[in-house]
Structures are given as structure tokens and as C-alpha cells.
């Protein structure tokens, strides 16, 4: 593939400053079961190439799913035309420094291949999950699904880049809805497809799967008869499967440099962070240490290079509460003069790279889960995101969870349904009062981070410990 793509680049007829091709082959296999019947069994093979050309300081692109030599050659001409047509109106005059020469490989860690489970075996496991979720007649719906992805990417350029990366991804989910008359309650395995990781079928079914299935079914029924979360300001303790969403929405997105530079203002929105805040702003409590880390083995958004060839490294975004670095790739770094990271990423061959999260993790502190709860006189503990909404500057948010517990006098007591909370981002992170240790740290992922024009969904990973926040407004649902 490298030779074929390199030959296309070297024989190009346009007088560009730089030409690059990112070719992608993606094989996805997916199975979904509902109420012990098959919903879908699908496989998807896709391929295509993103051709980028730099001319007159402007990048132009042309993407095609026709991988013939003539089609790619035509795409180079088309991308050159795009760059020239736009260059008089360019938002910034880019240089080749935005596409440095890079060579190397990255392959996801995996012990088993993606063919290790046959479609028949996968269906049988998911059917059994649905069966086991139905712990009582109150269970109105059971679902279980699993997807595997084998994604190969080749990146070549006119300045000598040759990068090969291969992602093996497993995404799994199960959940149930319990119903009693007009009351319904959803309970899932840490949120929709939150069990998304890089690896092979050694990840599923894991050793604790059947215990988790039983617990999800039982907790759905338990929630039917639980009290509503009370309306008050109190200490809020979040489990790692909700911290994932909290980090994503109120740290990840506001730190994206393209949002701060204004690219996203018409769609996803801007940010309350300004360029001059980097290096000086106290983002939150001194207990707060946040890293951009695409080097964590098995986390969903790990890679060796981003989609423009920047080498991926672990970097602190926030250290001891202070904002150090933005989530911006080489183009945003040229435009903003703010330190960034290797995060120019595209959802596939048919979209250009933009600033994205990868793995954004909250580093562990020094408290066990028992320590955290024991230190709280009154509070609410919440698990598993079920609702999320935040404003376009990433300021005012309201998040809802599936499962809550009342904390009284240092102990978890009654189960609570419909636990929700709302706050404002800086105030919330400054209220961080306890950070769990490594024993409380868990990693989850999501394939559904949406952003960009044209729109793109991309995979991100988030690792976090259990955390406690002071004086947060919590509330429940309709009685």
C-alpha cells in the first residue's frame, strides 16, 4: 500500500507545497439482541482515501472511496483546486510545519483476533445476557450488543511520511428497562457502549460479566421502588462511569483550541476559556490533575500518531488545578501560539482532521472509596450517565445518572432514583474535595463524540477515579 500511495503522490501533476494521502480500511462486525431475539447482525467493509494538498498557504482536500490510481490522481488535482480557490480567503497561511515528516507503526494491544468469536457464538452470549437480565416480571426490555472494528490506516506524504496504524476495537453494551405501571427505570452496564476498548475478543466476555449482568437486572428493579433523589445542595460523589462524562464535557471540549479559535462557534460552540488563560488560569481545585494520554494500553483513543503525522505523547493539560496546555493539533498551534498536543483526528477517510479529544484522564489521588464516603456527613453518590446537556461555552451543565445512593453519616444508605445535578464548570471543579486512589480508577470509552462541520463522530477514552464535590445542586424526577 505504501508504494502504491507514494507513487501516486510522487507522480502528481500539480505544483503543490505539500501532498498527503491518508488511506483507511475499516471492517466492522456487529450484533444486537433485544428481549432474547436478534435485532441485527451486520458487517461493514469500508475503504477510502483523504487526499490533502497545501498550496498558497491553504489546505484543500478531496476524499474518495475509489482507490484506483486514476481516482487518487484526480483527487489530488481536485484538492489542489480547492486550496487555490480558497486561498484568497484563508483564515491562516499554513506552512509545511503543520505536516512534519514522520514514520512509524502502531498496533492496538490484543491477545485474540477479531475472528476469535464466530457470529453464532457471539449471538449465544448476547442471548444469554438478555435471558439473565430478566430477573423479574418487571423487566420490560432487555438489550445486549457487541461490535468489533479492525481499522487500518496508511499515511504518506510528499515530504516522506510513512505511518501505518491498526486499531482493534471491541465495544459492548447491555441494559434493561424495568416497568411498574407508569414508572420506568433504565439501568445499563456503565452507560451505552461505555465498555469500549482497544483489544481483541479477550475483552469479552470478561470474568466479571455475569456478575455485572445480574447486578444490572436487579438494580433496575430496585430503582422502580426507590425514592426520588431529593432537591438540595449537598456533597456529590461521582463514580468513574459518570466522571467520564463530566471530564468529557467540562474539561475536554472547553480546552479544544479550535473551539477557542472560533471554528466551532456555528455548531458545537466556543469555550469560556481564552487563549491567554493557558499557563495562568486556576481551572479547579489543587487536587485536579488531568492528562492527554494516547499512550494508555487498551484505552479507546490510543495511537502512535495523529492523522496529520504528529507523534502522540502524554501531556498534562491541568496540573494541581492550573491550566497548562490546550487540546490543539499542529494547525491550531500555528494559529494560536499555545502549546498543544497530537490530536488532529478524523472520524474516517471522508472527513478532514480537526482538534479532538483522545484519552483525557483524571489522575488518581490518595483516597480509597471507603475513605471518601466515611468523610461525608450528608451527600449523594451517583453512577452511570443517562442524560447530558451543557451550553455552547461549556459553562452551565445539567447531567443525570441512572443510579444513586444517599450518604448519611459516612455510610451509603438508601437507593435513589432519577439522580440529577447541575452546576457551572469553574465553580464545579473548584469544589473538588476528594479524589480516589488507583483502586477506584476505572477506564471507559465512547464512540460518539460529535463535533465538526461537516460533522464527525470519534472515539475517545476517559479514565478517572471516584471523586467528591462540595455543595452541588442535586435533584430528582417527577414524583
Amino acid at each position: 500500500m505504501f508504494k502504491f500511495l507514494s507513487d501516486v503522490v510522487t507522480t502528481a501533476t500539480v505544483s503543490a507545497d505539500w501532498i498527503g494521502i491518508r488511506a483507511v480500511k475499516d471492517t466492522t462486525k456487529a450484533c444486537a439482541i433485544r428481549d432474547a431475539h436478534p435485532e441485527s447482525n451486520t458487517q461493514r467493509f469500508g475503504h477510502g482515501a483523504m487526499v490533502e494538498v497545501l498550496a498558497n498557504g491553504q489546505f484543500g482536500y478531496s476524499a474518495t472511496n475509489n482507490l484506483s490510481e486514476s481516482s487518487l490522481a484526480a483527487a489530488i488535482v481536485s484538492a489542489y483546486g480547492q486550496a487555490i480557490a480558497a486561498s484568497d480567503w484563508a483564515v491562516h497561511s499554513f506552512t509545511v510545519a503543520a505536516r512534519p515528516k514522520a514514520t512509524g507503526n502502531y498496533v492496538s494491544p490484543h491477545r485474540k483476533g477479531l475472528d476469535a468469536l464466530s457470529p453464532a457464538e457471539l449471538n449465544q452470549i448476547l442471548l444469554r445476557i438478555c435471558d439473565q437480565l430478566k430477573v423479574s416480571d418487571s423487566i420490560a426490555q432487555t438489550t445486549a450488543s457487541a461490535r468489533s472494528h479492525d481499522i487500518e490506516t496508511w499515511f504518506v506524504s510528499s515530504n516522506g511520511s510513512e505511518i501505518y496504524q491498526r486499531d482493534y476495537v471491541i465495544e459492548t453494551h447491555f441494559g434493561t428497562i424495568a416497568q411498574d405501571g407508569p414508572t420506568t427505570q433504565l439501568r445499563t452496564d456503565h452507560g451505552y457502549l461505555a465498555h469500549s476498548y482497544q483489544g481483541g475478543w479477550e475483552l469479552f466476555p470478561g470474568l466479571d460479566l455475569w456478575q455485572r449482568v445480574q447486578q444490572v437486572g436487579e438494580q433496575a428493579v430496585e430503582l422502580l421502588h426507590a425514592d426520588n433523589c431529593p432537591d438540595l445542595a449537598t456533597t456529590l460523589v461521582l463514580a468513574p462511569d459518570q466522571m467520564m462524562l463530566q471530564i468529557h464535557e467540562s474539561i475536554g471540549h472547553p480546552l479544544e483550541l479550535d473551539r477557542i479559535l472560533g471554528d466551532e462557534r456555528n455548531y458545537a460552540g466556543g469555550s469560556f476559556i481564552q487563549l491567554e488563560d493557558f499557563g495562568s488560569l486556576d481551572y479547579g481545585s489543587k487536587l485536579m490533575n488531568v492528562t492527554f494520554d494516547p499512550t494508555v494500553a487498551g484505552e479507546l483513543a490510543s495511537y502512535g500518531f495523529d492523522d496529520v503525522g504528529a507523534t502522540a505523547t502524554r501531556e498534562y493539560l491541568i496540573r494541581a488545578g492550573k491550566l497548562e496546555r490546550g487540546l490543539g493539533g499542529l494547525e491550531s498551534q500555528q494559529r494560536s501560539h499555545v502549546p498543544g498536543v497530537a490530536n488532529s483526528r478524523a472520524s474516517s477517510w471522508n472527513r478532514p482532521a480537526i482538534d479532538r479529544m483522545a484519552n483525557i484522564n483524571l489522575e488518581p489521588g490518595d483516597r480509597t472509596f471507603e475513605d471518601i464516603i466515611a468523610n461525608i456527613e450528608h451527600g449523594i453518590y451517583m453512577e452511570t450517565n443517562r442524560s447530558w446537556s451543557i451550553d455552547d461555552q461549556r459553562h452551565k451543565f445539567q447531567f443525570g445518572c441512572e443510579y444513586g445512593k444517599l450518604i448519611e453519616n459516612g455510610q451509603l444508605t438508601r437507593t435513589l432514583k432519577n439522580p440529577n445535578y447541575r452546576s457551572v464548570t469553574p465553580q464545579f471543579w473548584h469544589s473538588l474535595s476528594q479524589v480516589g486512589d488507583r483502586s477506584t480508577w476505572e477506564i471507559y470509552g465512547t464512540p460518539f463524540c460529535g463535533k465538526g462541520e461537516p460533522n464527525q463522530l470519534i472515539r475517545v477514552g476517559h479514565g478517572a477515579p471516584v471523586c467528591a464535590f462540595e455543595a452541588i445542586e442535586v435533584f430528582g424526577g417527577a414524583v
Binding site: N65, S71, A74, P119, P182, G262, S389, D392, G400
Partner: protein, 451 residues
């Protein structure tokens, strides 16, 4: 449009037909299939501060082959480039893999086999901007403004064929411009502009409207305390609420499985206003009427009529499972051509009847906050104003709302406007979207703001 795109447009329909014929000739009589095609030749030009941020073209297409045999089924997707000699080997390989896979799978008791003899062909011709005209045409009139957004245009095509002999083709050459204008205080107004024929005069008029609205944003912003206020939601804001009807809303499967905000409406425990009527209306929709089973939806289908849930969206799969007639909804049972009927509120009466409260042009980032009770949270966005004595007083700092659809379209619904606006579907996740919604503005009493 480039010459390569013209060739692709001419060949795609022909090659798709040849591929469907080839599949049919390779399958024995006991096996059914459906073959769907989705493709586009699209231009995307992205703007920031009245400059071009990114510009490019995407030529993409995918074939979805579904095989059905002995009450079992599986599907495969492969690329489509519009050349039989390129596309057939991949499709043939997928067919062979499905033939090996389907017998391994569990029986699907709700499998929908292709039946009927429906055929259709719809072509929406278009005249849109050439690549080298886009930047200058769009940016020259706004070069002194903080203009940001995206132009997307080109050919979109959809095809369907099956073993029963049904055949459908849909193509549309269209564009959409989705933009915002910002003032130095970072306050913004929003505009969308879409169609099949680029109309420069209408574009300039749209920009002038946005500029005028932006001048109203220059007044000092008013901070509104949380509470309940009478609120006017303009059509674009209503369209955001309408999206919620397709996400755990009026689909039959969601209603049956306890996953709907309108379960209480069906059970008679909650009511909507007799002023509220929602229907599917394909009369003017830029959207295929055929679904993934090759079925053609009725031209009109009432969903909520004068507050009563008279129809859910029922796919043929749900029809089989729940033993109720299909109304040829899509597999996902989401609204494809929604329309909310108008009321009696004339444009000049909006502010007087609002009297004191909030005028909201747009909403942002909606999600269920209490799904079974139809409660939705989200943010105000863009041109939103505080109104006193029937006059706009000041723009507002953005507010979070948390309110039930049973209130917005139920006991809180004071009136709907006498006019509708067509809100184009401008999503471009994976591919450019099709369709639009036709919605009026609504006046709601005691709309709840929480942060």
C-alpha cells in the same frame, strides 16, 4: 459541478440496477434480499471570521445488502463507486460471506420479507455554486462581519431494490448554508439557507435579516433569574423540541418497550393540548418516501391530532412483533417529514401576547432530564431576548431550561403562529442528511428556567 461528478450521476442509477440484477441472478429462490444504496458527491466549505477554514470534496457511496433465509437474516455494507467492475467483486464477496453467516444465526421471529411491487423514481434537479465561486460569493457580502458556518452542496442519491422486484431511486442536487454572525461581545444570531437552486438575492436578504437581528443584540444583556416565564419559541427552537419526538418518542417499539416519553399519553395519564397537531407530511419533503423495506409511506399520516395520540410510527417489523398494522415507518421509527400545524397567533401579535417574558430564537443541546415524564433540558442560544410591555428590551445571558413536553405542548401551550417555517435537516454525520421539518412558533406560559 465537476465533470467527474456528472459522470457519476449518470452512471450510479444504471450500475445500481445492474448490481441488483446480479444479486438476484446469484440467489436461489428460497433466499430473499434487499439492496440499498446511499451516496453523495458533496462539497464542504467551512468558514470562520469571514474566511475559509477548510474546503474540500467528498465522493462516497455504500451498498447495504441484506440476506434473508429460513427466518434468519444478516446484512453487509460495502463501498459503491459507480463502476460495475469495481463494485461487483466487493458485493459478491459480501454475498458469499452472508450466505455462510446467515445459517449460523438464531431465528428472527420478526423478520420482514420483501413483498409488494412498489417502484418510484424521484429526481430533484439543482443549480448550485461551482467550487471556485463559493468563497467569493458567500464571503464578499459579509467580509466586514464575523461570519462563521458551513456551506454543503452537491448530489445526494439513494437507491433500493429487492427480491420481490421493488425498485426505487431518489436523487437530489441541493445545498445548505448554516451560518452565524457574531458581534464583538461574542453574541450571535443564526441563519440557515437551503434549496435546490442557489438564489443570490434571497441569500443577501437572509444576511440582511441576520445583520438587523444582530444590531438588537448590541444592547446590554439582561441576566434573568431562574423561574417560570411566559416564552415565545420561534420555529427553529420548536424544531429542536420536535427532534425529541424521534428519540424515545412516537415510535411504536419505544412505546411498547417502556422507552417513550409518550407512554403516559397513550395510557391516558397525561394530556396534550387540543391546539397541538403533529403529522408526517411528504407532500413537499426533500426526502425519499420509501424506507429500508422498499415500502412507500402514506403522503400524510397524523401522529398527534388535537392533542390525541392517534398513530404511532409503526415499521413493518414492529407491526409483526406487536400485531398492529404497519404505516411503513422506517426501521428506527423516527419522524422523516414532520409538520406541526399552525394556530392563530399572527406575527404582529407575538410580542403583544408575550407581553412580559422571553423570546427564544434557538435552543441548544437538548436531552431528556426525566424521559418517562417527557421532561427536557437544554440551553437557550443565539438571538434570545427579554420582553416587557410587548417590546424587546434586551438580549439575555443564556439560560438553562428544564420543562416537560406535556407542558410545552399541553397545558402551557397558549397558541401557535399562523405561519410555519421550513427547517432543513443539515446534519452531516457520515453523510449529508436529507429532509426538513415544517413548524410554527409557539407561545408557552410558565416555561421553566433552572440555571
Amino acid at each position: 459541478m465537476t465533470s467527474a461528478v456528472v459522470v457519476a450521476k449518470q452512471l450510479a442509477e444504471k450500475v445500481f440496477g445492474e448490481l441488483a440484477d446480479a444479486i438476484a441472478s446469484h440467489l436461489a429462490g428460497a433466499t430473499d434480499f434487499t439492496l440499498s444504496l446511499s451516496g453523495e458527491n458533496s462539497q464542504f466549505t467551512r468558514f470562520n471570521r469571514a474566511h475559509v477554514r477548510q474546503s474540500g470534496q467528498v465522493n462516497d457511496g455504500n451498498l447495504l445488502l441484506t440476506l434473508m433465509q429460513d427466518d434468519r437474516t444478516a446484512s453487509a455494507t460495502v463501498p459503491f463507486v459507480g463502476e460495475f467492475e469495481t463494485d461487483w467483486p466487493l458485493l459478491k464477496t459480501a454475498l458469499a460471506e452472508l450466505q455462510g453467516m446467515v445459517p449460523q444465526l438464531p431465528v428472527d421471529p420478526f423478520l420482514v420479507l420483501p413483498t409488494g411491487s412498489a417502484t418510484s423514481r424521484t429526481v430533484h434537479q439543482g443549480e448550485i455554486l461551482a467550487v471556485d465561486q463559493i468563497a467569493s460569493t458567500l464571503l464578499s457580502p459579509v467580509n466586514t462581519l464575523d461570519f462563521t458556518g458551513i456551506y454543503a452542496g452537491g448530489l445526494i442519491f439513494r437507491g433500493y431494490a429487492d427480491s420481490a422486484g421493488q425498485r426505487h431511486w431518489f436523487e437530489s442536487t441541493s445545498y445548505s448554508l448554516d451560518f452565524s454572525l457574531f458581534d464583538p461581545q461574542n453574541r450571535a444570531v443564526k441563519g440557515t439557507f437551503a434549496g435546490n437552486q442557489w438564489q443570490q438575492a434571497k441569500f443577501l436578504d437572509k444576511i440582511d435579516q441576520a445583520k438587523h437581528q444582530l444590531t438588537m443584540m448590541a444592547r446590554p444583556a439582561k441576566t434573568i433569574e431562574r423561574g417560570q416565564y411566559r416564552t415565545y419559541l420561534a420555529p427553529a427552537a420548536v424544531a429542536e423540541l420536535l427532534h425529541m419526538f424521534s428519540w424515545g418518542g412516537v415510535g411504536e417499539a419505544d412505546l411498547q418497550q417502556g422507552n417513550s416519553a409518550f407512554g403516559l399519553l397513550r395510557q391516558g395519564q397525561r394530556q396534550l393540548s387540543p391546539k397541538f397537531t403533529l403529522q408526517e407530511n411528504f407532500e413537499q419533503a426533500n426526502m425519499p418516501r420509501f424506507n429500508g423495506y422498499g415500502e412507500v409511506a402514506p403522503l400524510q399520516l397524523p401522529i398527534i391530532q388535537q392533542g390525541q395520540l392517534v398513530n404511532s410510527l409503526v415499521s413493518s417489523r414492529s407491526a409483526k412483533e406487536y400485531k398492529t398494522p404497519s404505516n411503513y415507518a422506517s426501521r428506527g421509527e423516527h419522524l422523516r417529514a414532520p409538520e406541526i400545524l399552525t394556530g392563530s397567533l399572527t406575527a404582529d401579535q407575538i410580542l403583544p401576547r408575550l407581553e412580559r417574558g422571553l423570546y427564544l430564537s434557538n435552543l441548544h443541546y437538548l436531552n431528556w432530564s426525566d424521559h418517562p415524564n417527557g421532561r427536557v433540558t437544554g440551553m437557550t442560544r443565539y438571538a434570545c431576548f427579554w420582553v416587557e410591555n410587548g417590546e424587546i428590551v434586551a438580549p439575555i445571558e443564556n439560560l438553562r431550561f428544564d420543562e416537560s413536553l406535556y407542558h410545552c405542548f399541553g397545558d402551557g401551550l397558549m397558541d401557535l403562529t399562523t405561519f410555519q417555517e421550513t427547517i432543513p435537516e443539515i446534519d452531516t454525520y457520515d453523510c449529508r442528511g436529507l429532509g426538513d421539518s415544517r413548524v410554527p412558533g409557539i407561545l408557552v406560559d410558565d416555561f421553566t428556567y433552572t440555571l
